[in-house]
Symmetry: C2
Subunit: 480 residues, 2 copies
Amino acid sequence: MTEASNRRETENLQVQLQKVIHLLSKHKLMAGFVQMQEMPRHELTESLVQKQNLAELQQLLDKLHPADVAYILEALPLQDRLTIWDLVKAERDGEILLEASDAVRETLIAAMDGNELVAATEQLDADEIADLAPDLPRYVIDDVFQSLPVEEREQLRAAMSYPEDAVGALMDFDMVTIREDVTLEVVLRYLRRLDELPGHTDQMFVVDRNEHLKGVLPVNRLLVSDPDTEVAAVMSTEMLKLHPNDKAQQAAHAFERYDLVSASVVDAKGKLVGRVTVNAVMDFIREESENEALKLGGLSEEEDLFAPVWKSVKNRWVWLAVNLVTAFIASRVIGVFEDSIEKLVALAALMPIIAGIGGNSGNQTITMIVRALALGQLNPGNARKLFAKEIGVSAVNGMVWGSAVGLFAFFIYDSVGLGLVMALAMTLNLLLAASLGVLIPLVLQKLGRDPAAGSSVMITAVTDSGGFFIFLGLATIFLL
Amino acid sequence: MTEASNRRETENLQVQLQKVIHLLSKHKLMAGFVQMQEMPRHELTESLVQKQNLAELQQLLDKLHPADVAYILEALPLQDRLTIWDLVKAERDGEILLEASDAVRETLIAAMDGNELVAATEQLDADEIADLAPDLPRYVIDDVFQSLPVEEREQLRAAMSYPEDAVGALMDFDMVTIREDVTLEVVLRYLRRLDELPGHTDQMFVVDRNEHLKGVLPVNRLLVSDPDTEVAAVMSTEMLKLHPNDKAQQAAHAFERYDLVSASVVDAKGKLVGRVTVNAVMDFIREESENEALKLGGLSEEEDLFAPVWKSVKNRWVWLAVNLVTAFIASRVIGVFEDSIEKLVALAALMPIIAGIGGNSGNQTITMIVRALALGQLNPGNARKLFAKEIGVSAVNGMVWGSAVGLFAFFIYDSVGLGLVMALAMTLNLLLAASLGVLIPLVLQKLGRDPAAGSSVMITAVTDSGGFFIFLGLATIFLL
């Protein structure tokens, strides 16, 4: 890489993508031209220019980091994606598959045969193979498993046995372990015998004969200490010990709070079984926040930008169906009041306002509560206080926005009664939104469900049906 | 810390929070008791038990990491929070303020006088002071500025000059720099003269006399190489060089893609001015995703769980106001068709279904597009393809869900015409949702605005008003 090109790698990636697209389109143009002329595919003109384009593309790809190749593959429509995938050197396949998003990885794996998959997978570490495993055909995993040395087989078996949201799924096995009764000089000499240290080695793990973790020796302390000191004298015994079954979410919080680069993973008996590094944690955090955004947007999972239409339909239908059911219910609530609407048709025009603002306000409350629950900051001691606060906020909002919608109704329909009913309905629906905005996530949590999943849909359902009922009910009582 | 207590630090935090709450309530109970008995505050019984409780609390707090103290402060109602804040040792104030959320930090700073603030701030590094600066009174900053050595003054001035979303705002100045013409042995000896290395020192920066960055020496390479080698022979010249004005978002993507622990920041002339570390990047990523979640929930910014009611009202009113305006518009669209509704009141009950499903589907499209834009994976070459895909998806959905709502209308109201109009309106609104779901974020991006901000509100406004218009319009034409 030249000085100029590595200077702005962050911007460069999009430039690289443009280059790939440009070369691809030249390639396709030529292929089209050749076809138009009905020349046989092996004609000189084709082979020369074509090969030159492809060679240029390949050169470009070889220079890129696996993560960058994955990025480019994700940004290309399926056919172009597979053209590029064919150009990638086979020995890089595994690394690139690891970096690609689940949806795109699936399309790449579908284009490979069994031998290619085995070859690609074999080059990876046990923890990486475990990450790919769910997307690979069973026989590929079996083949790879057979080809691994015994120790790595055990690691793979272990790594595959943990659920995706457990520390065990984030962990790798690239630890440098040392003994406590040697001097730092010995440690330094031992390290020098290695070709390289595993990535993210910011500390060495001090273990006894039975591989029980006794402490950690930060590399930084190794570097500033007198080489004649013993490990035991400089090692730190205050360290984070994760368990493979701990929630990955908790580990992530610990990494953020304590600014860690790596942390040990020990089993119930205190034996060192692996480590978690900050890059795995960062990927986890990113994935979590993406999943949350997708859920809030009503998508079941991450979607390949260029997924076939039927696949996208499948990915989206669940939330649309849920939405349909709640909409049907709201519709029937309105249906009950059809007589009232017939007598005073203004109600039909005004009712969506009550429902809409209620939904918005309820979602504001829920966002606060879900966040506090995720951080574990809500407890019986302060839940009542929070509830009181949210009721207070919606009472104030009810007065402010209730007056606004009341005035709106009064000016449009010239009816004081309608204005007052609007204002009252607005206030009541905001109070309903606040109460359930606090209760729904708390109840979901109590039931052992994820309060983030679906609570927004539920609150909207309540404020829609509830808003219609309150408004039309009040109107029927007071205006008709 | 005992072995048992540090084993599960990740779970422990909530246990600590419970302990604090327990001790606090004992403390308050006793204070209340003392008051009830109308004993003077200095009575022996009070002072002994009270002091014991507070001492126990203080001991607990002293053992905790600053981030954990911040966590506990965030989880407490204002009065309790300030009681605890008073117990924290003054020399830890600065670190804890840094870790607290913006909203909570504000309440803590409000409880401190000028001298306390200056004392707390002075202990921090220049980049940390810059992080706190926006929340501090002007005269505190001035005082602190005067008290700094010249070099740090320059750093503080530099750090404060960058916008929050620039690399300059993430950067710190704790670099270890070395020269390329010395041997690793010399480097090792130089390091040993230091008391400790700055956190996250995974590489040393190789600079020339003018502090121009020539390369980096990873600590791991230093450890495995022969001490007689020269730095120039083992240093790496392929490294990420950030600029202080680069977008922090781009730096974050680079850290994720290339699994970095630290990266250099150089000015336009190639002079090393600072470094960015993975912990700053991780905090940035977390903040970004929280902000997105808050925005989607309709909150303007992070809110203190125990903010006073009026503060929460202020934090939420913008999105409620926007929502109100769009609701008023939708209401007027319905108003136009009041005659039709009066003739066929079923329309009032059915119209929210069309609007609701349209909004949900539009949000699905927007979620996809906003994500692709954020990753820079959308370009003129594939935008047309994406548009076609989204139209295809909504055409299929239109047929499926259109039939469902059509049948619903038919069964409830026993009218084939109404069923057909429902189905057609549903399909058209889904097509509208897909088109604008692609267009709105693209246009926002073209206008230099953040496509994530407000696009969800806009699409819902369009599918509401549009849905009402399409459905009521079709019904007026075909059914009346």
